[in-house]
Amino acid sequence: MKNPLFKPTEEKLSPREEAEITQELAAAYRQHELGEKRPEFRRIVENVEKQLLHIRSKENRQ
């Protein structure tokens, strides 16, 4: 993907490039928000938390 957002800052953006940046940013923003609502997102958080608790209790025992 070529995103003009990463064009050197000294170069001016054309209106088409500005529109392209806006579109990509909005899509990333939406995707990020949606991702956190997906069921697997929550399941992975629970899984990591469970394993972190296990690591912590092991560390505390040592």
Partner: protein, 209 residues
């Protein structure tokens, strides 16, 4: 609460420094941003090693959880030495290979524990590439949020991220249209400055213009 460092630099230092709350906030933030690419990576790598078998959802979720833990425990990611996406792919590939070796399923005849597993990382899939680029843009937005006044971010979020027209945003916030335009201009300049920092430039392949 002090403002955290930029996300990409923060990711290089995710670990438990005794501040358990901060640590958990960090990994959840990391997970929020990179959940999509990690799932796509794990599924793609699974397909590669199994002759295109359908990745089992639960196993892929376990792999992603383990990769996140690996990332935290190893604390070896150094942005100066390589790209975050490559580092995450190496960790994900290792966990998928581990999982397949343990399972040795009968319907995965194409898996050869000796040779095929020793192959280098499979090529990045278009889905993975797309997902990673979106995660990087989401990281950039997070960084921006931390580096500009809340009011400026609010205006930027309404107009650029949520697609509310500048006139409607001005009416809702009770300001002149000029304030909206001026703020958007300033925020876009700041956004491009953040995008131009070495950490982002290295993660994001520079476009060829």
């Amino acid at each position: 609460m002090p403002l955290p460092d930029t996300s990409l630099s923060l990711l290089s230092r995710l670990r438990d420094d005794g501040d358990h709350t901060g640590w958990q906030v960090s990994w959840k933030r990391f997970h929020g941003l990179y959940h999509g690419p990690l799932m796509a990576m794990a599924a793609g790598i699974y397909r590669h090693h199994t002759g295109n078998a359908v990745p089992p959802q639960e196993a892929i979720e376990d792999v992603v959880a383990t990769v996140i833990l690996d990332f935290l425990k190893r604390d070896r990611f150094d942005p100066k030495r390589g790209r975050l996406r490559t580092y995450l792919r190496v960790l994900t590939n290792a966990r998928i290979v581990d999982m397949l070796r343990k399972e040795k399923p009968l319907d995965h005849d194409s898996i050869d524990a000796g040779e095929e597993m020793a192959e280098p990382l499979p090529a990045e899939s278009p889905e993975e590439e797309r997902s990673f680029q979106q995660a990087l843009l989401a990281t950039l937005i997070e960084d921006l949020r931390e580096q500009i006044p809340l009011r400026q971010f609010e205006i930027f979020e309404m107009v650029k991220l949520k697609g509310i027209s500048p006139d409607a945003a001005a009416a809702e916030l009770g300001v002149n249209r000029g304030v909206i335009d001026n703020t958007i201009y300033k925020v876009m300049v700041r956004l491009r400055e953040i995008a131009a920092t070495p950490e982002y430039e290295e993660e994001y392949e520079k476009p060829s213009f």
